[in-house]
Homo-oligomer: 190 residues x 2
């Protein structure tokens, strides 16, 4: 048995309820329920999203359409009935075999619990079940935590036309001056 | 023969090159080439998008992903080799039979030419060919020109929980305080 997490001693038994058996709980014994994202989650997510990003204005990057039209490959993580994190992703419509993770948010109070890994693994399983062989994602070059997380999750860095702190960057990738680190991960054998 | 448009007397022959025969040229004799949207269009679109919207900051609402992963149901309109307008839309992944128009932009110098209609009709044809039976879209309640355009294009207004100038509005629909007018249009018999 995994030792109980010091932060959550009330949870005696490690248990993770997830749609696929291969997802593990990370280092913590918290119980997360992973389920499909729903339109009903949208008002809560929008109410916390800027706070979860340390005050950055993020709502414009997350229109409701991702909570309506891509729910079968988007996931919510709940703990004790409260949304602790979410992932909005989709299967590429025009690039066969590709899947894309657009937006992932985890409550700052839940970070370090392995929740990001749970959400990504739920997405990998959903994408693979739909015939995808690779997953793409991007992040901002200043977000070194996100870069490191994607590398731990098995993503490779794609080549860029610039570099920031030794990391390849695609300059002007998204919007005005939106430099991005681009990631790619194979789903073969995953 | 349709009389030549006074604004474009150099175009003697009305001709519209489009992927479907049912799309008409509207009131003008300009020649537009409708083709699939491409990732290569993204830098130009981002460079003009705020100007096309009268200075509003729109780039955050249009990440590159729409120019990469939904190109088979997204369209560019060119005149004389220059991008005059575009439409980014997709087939709903999780709502069978539904299609969604996310973003449409027309160069202010090209408005009134019927170009918006051309782009919508290209999308309707693409959605119908993929088995869709309805199309959804939303707009801001202050954009009365867009509301009128959608009504001319056969969209119905969906019920809202509020009202603005006699029009039903879904309050807080998108992002922070993003009230929206919601449209729905059947593709049956279209």
């Amino acid at each position: 048995m995994i030792p109980a997490c010091a932060a959550h001693p009330h949870l005696a038994e490690p248990r993770v309820v997830v749609p696929t058996a291969r997802i593990s709980a990370g280092c913590c014994t918290m119980t997360f329920q992973i389920r499909q994202l729903s339109t009903a989650d949208y008002p809560f997510v929008i109410s916390v999203i800027d706070q979860w990003w340390g005050g950055r204005q993020m709502a414009d990057k997350l229109p409701r359409l991702f909570f309506e039209h891509f729910t079968d490959t988007s996931f919510a993580a709940e703990r004790d009935g409260k949304l602790a994190g979410f992932l909005a992703g989709f299967i590429s419509q025009s690039r066969p075999g590709e899947a894309y993770i657009h937006f992932v948010g985890v409550d700052p109070a839940e970070r370090g619990s392995g929740l990001g890994r749970l959400l990504y693994e739920a997405f990998f399983a959903a994408a693979k079940a739909r015939g995808c062989v690779l997953v793409r994602a991007v992040t901002s070059p200043v977000n070194r935590g996100s870069v490191a997380f994607h590398q731990r999750m098995g993503f490779q860095l794609e080549p860029g036309d610039a570099e920031a702190g030794g990391i390849p960057v695609a300059s002007g990738y998204d919007g005005h001056d939106g430099d991005r680190v681009r990631f790619i991960r194979s789903l073969r054998g995953a």
